[in-house]
């Protein structure tokens, strides 16, 4: 296993390098960039512009710029944000935990919804409950997540009010009430809508996976064996069944990380959540090179890491799988 993990890590290096190359080239085709901010400044003469360009190394050939950038990156110097002038790593360090926090809670809720519902649905295949679950999951799978978020805001922030204070039932944005000392209740209150938006939409997909996976497991010999030796039915389902059915679901979850990130982009944008997704959107509007490069590299690295984690988890949870 150790050798396998090591080999995968070594394979990840050229992959990340290729991604950096592709993204670097793409970014350099986009108009705007470091000099755009000065181009319309009447105080800057053409000479000033040239001198600045030279000082910043922007007149060097593209491959030289790339090598310089890569070298700096390896040495931990990821450059500065054009907008905030702060180091890119500091910006990301500020935002990444918020995204991890949001996605972590949302993923937990997703699994807590999807796995039991999927299993119930599979155990009672073709029952009314199963039909309802399948239909709702099919719809949830088709719902545009940003529209679902808007509906949540309209219903739970605009229409429904707290009967005691008359304030909106749930806050429509932010991570906590500004100017208030830390309070767990306030944090949770702010989590409800964004997590609800992510979890419900994702749970639909994972309910489908769980159901399919459980249906396959129920047909297996070891389930028949468990029943034959007189194991109580709940134990058959929730111990023998769940263990085997949940494994692929958890794995798919890890593989799905890019899609989950996309969901978080919408959630963060709509709920003014100070995370990586929103940072990316803001940077894209400003064509904030260093920040865009860094965000993509970080998310790509996370994706690669989670893919590996998925494979390793799979092997650990399912002893039938061996990696050489």
């Amino acid at each position: 296993m150790g050798a396998y993990v090591l080999r995968r890590l070594v394979q990840a290096v050229p992959l990340l390098w290729l991604i950096s190359l592709v993204v670097f080239l793409l970014l350099h085709v986009i108009p705007g960039g470091p000099m755009a901010a000065y181009e319309n400044n009447p105080d800057m003469t053409a000479e000033d512009l040239h001198r600045l360009e030279h000082d910043l190394g922007l007149d060097a050939p593209l491959h030289v710029q790339y090598v310089r950038w890569l070298a700096a990156l390896v040495h931990g110097d990821w450059g500065y944000s054009l907008a905030s002038k702060r180091p890119v790593l500091v910006e990301i360090g500020d935002r990444l935990p918020n995204t991890v926090y949001l996605m972590g809670v949302a993923t937990l809720v997703t699994l807590l919804l999807a796995i039991p519902i999927g299993i119930f649905s599979a155990v009672r295949q073709y029952s009314t409950l199963d039909h309802v679950v399948t239909t709702v999951a099919f719809m949830g799978h088709s719902i545009p997540i940003f529209w679902f978020g808007l509906i949540l805001i309209i219903v739970f922030h605009v229409m429904l009010r707290n009967p005691l204070s008359g304030a909106p039932l749930f806050p429509g944005g932010g991570m906590y009430t500004l100017g208030m000392p830390f309070s767990l209740l306030d944090r949770l209150h702010h989590l409800v809508l964004p997590v609800g938006m992510l979890a419900v939409a994702n749970a639909a997909t994972y309910t489908r996976y769980t159901r399919a996976s459980m249906l396959e497991v129920i047909g297996q010999d070891y389930i028949r064996t468990a029943r034959a030796k007189g194991t109580p039915e709940p134990l058959v389902i929730w111990k023998h069944g769940l263990k085997n059915a949940a494994t692929p679901v958890v794995t798919i979850l890890a593989l799905d990380l890019p899609a989950l990130f996309a969901g978080a982009v919408f959630t963060e944008t709509m709920f003014s959540w100070p995370g990586m997704g929103r940072l990316f959107i803001e940077s894209a509007f400003r064509v904030d090179y260093a920040l865009l490069m860094a965000i993509i590299m970080v998310t790509a690295a996370l994706t690669v890491a989670f893919n590996l984690l998925a494979d390793v988890t799979y092997a650990v949870l399912d002893p039938r799988i061996r990696y050489g």
């Binding site: 099919f138 719902i143 545009p144 529209w147 808007l150 309209i154 894209a284 994706t303």
Partner: protein, 324 residues
């Protein structure tokens, strides 16, 4: 099997190819009193019509497509002309779905927006399927180094968070003066297609890997048929079923992607209406005029569900394992 697996042809009409006449007594009895058709396409259509939701979905898509195409006849209103006397009117018999912040009839704009959203869905799907089929066919048919190279590239594309790359690509494509189609439609189509061919490529490759070992391919080769012709005329028609299903689902996901991009502000630019940018616009008024947010999203939702059900029905209809 011939290329007629497109689900065309009516249920009862037995058309040209394949099955020659059978004596009535071998005709299987069907639940309905209808005669089961004897061509591949006829059979597929017959099975498709068993799937009620799929038929309903097809109907919904047809109606929406027709209404959007004929928007200028269906609606008496101008989609772009503001009327400041009519700002943000609630739905009424005159304006069935109300009006937006500039007093434009919402339903009219949704129908015109449908033109763009649906065309983007279909165009992006077509390009993605063409690219995916080309890559998958080459990789599966030739194998070896070509396969390795193409599939590693496919993996690379799959491991970059798609939404981030999509936004970068759109910024890049927008900087070129792409001809025709207003509001940057072509850039969106290209970007979506460039980031969604991978699943099709994997699917086609898998189909080609097994099909190229079949005797009919060997026969064709023995007759001196060239590689290109074998790929296109002999193998591809046999791989049509999974491609058709994937293509259908791809239309739905392209529509979601387009609306998501427009919602974030990177899609088609106003005043050209699309369902996505109408939703974005509605964000500012959803407290006073929730209908401006609810209806455009509802159209996306219904369209996507309908197309997904059609895809579901097609899968049941075309999957040879369902042959009875």
């Amino acid at each position: 099997m011939d290329s007629g697996v497109g689900g065309r042809g009516s249920g009862v009409r037995t058309s040209t190819a394949l099955v020659v006449d059978r004596t009535p007594d071998t005709q299987p009895l069907t639940p309905s009193s209808r005669v089961r058709p004897q061509t591949m396409a006829g059979l597929a259509w017959w099975r498709f019509t068993r799937h009620r939701m799929a038929v309903a979905g097809l109907l919904v898509v047809a109606v929406l497509g027709a209404a959007s195409t004929l928007a200028s006849w269906v609606s008496p209103y101008d989609p772009d002309k503001p009327d400041l006397q009519l700002q943000l009117r609630a739905p009424s018999p005159v304006h069935l779905l109300g009006t937006d912040d500039l007093g434009r009839d919402l339903l009219t704009r949704i129908l015109y927006g449908g033109r763009i959203s649906l065309s983007i869905g279909v165009l992006a799907m077509t390009l993605a399927v063409l690219m995916g089929t080309a890559v998958g066919a080459a990789a599966g048919y030739y194998g070896g180094a070509i396969d390795n190279l193409l599939m590693r590239f496919t993996d690379l594309m799959l491991s970059i968070p798609a939404l981030f790359l999509l936004i970068l690509l759109i910024l890049v494509l927008r900087s070129f003066p792409l001809p025709f189609l207003r509001g940057g439609v072509l850039a969106i189509v290209l970007a979506i297609a460039l980031l969604s061919w991978m699943t099709v490529a994997r699917l086609v490759r898998a189909a080609f890997l097994s099909l190229k070992e079949q005797v009919f391919v060997e026969a064709a080769r023995a007759l001196g048929v060239g590689n290109g012709r074998i790929i296109i005329r002999h193998i591809l028609p046999n791989a049509a079923s999974p491609i058709i299903v994937a293509a259908t689902l791809r239309v739905a996901s392209s529509i979601i992607t387009e609306s998501g991009l427009s919602f974030l502000g990177f899609g088609v630019q106003p005043p050209t209406p699309t369902w996505g940018n109408m939703l974005k616009n509605a964000q500012d008024q959803m407290i006073t005029a929730p209908w401006t947010a609810i209806f455009p999203g509802l159209f996306i939702f219904v369209t996507v569900i309908a197309i997904n059900y059609v895809g579901d029905g097609l899968r049941d209809a075309l999957d040879p394992r369902h042959l009875r």
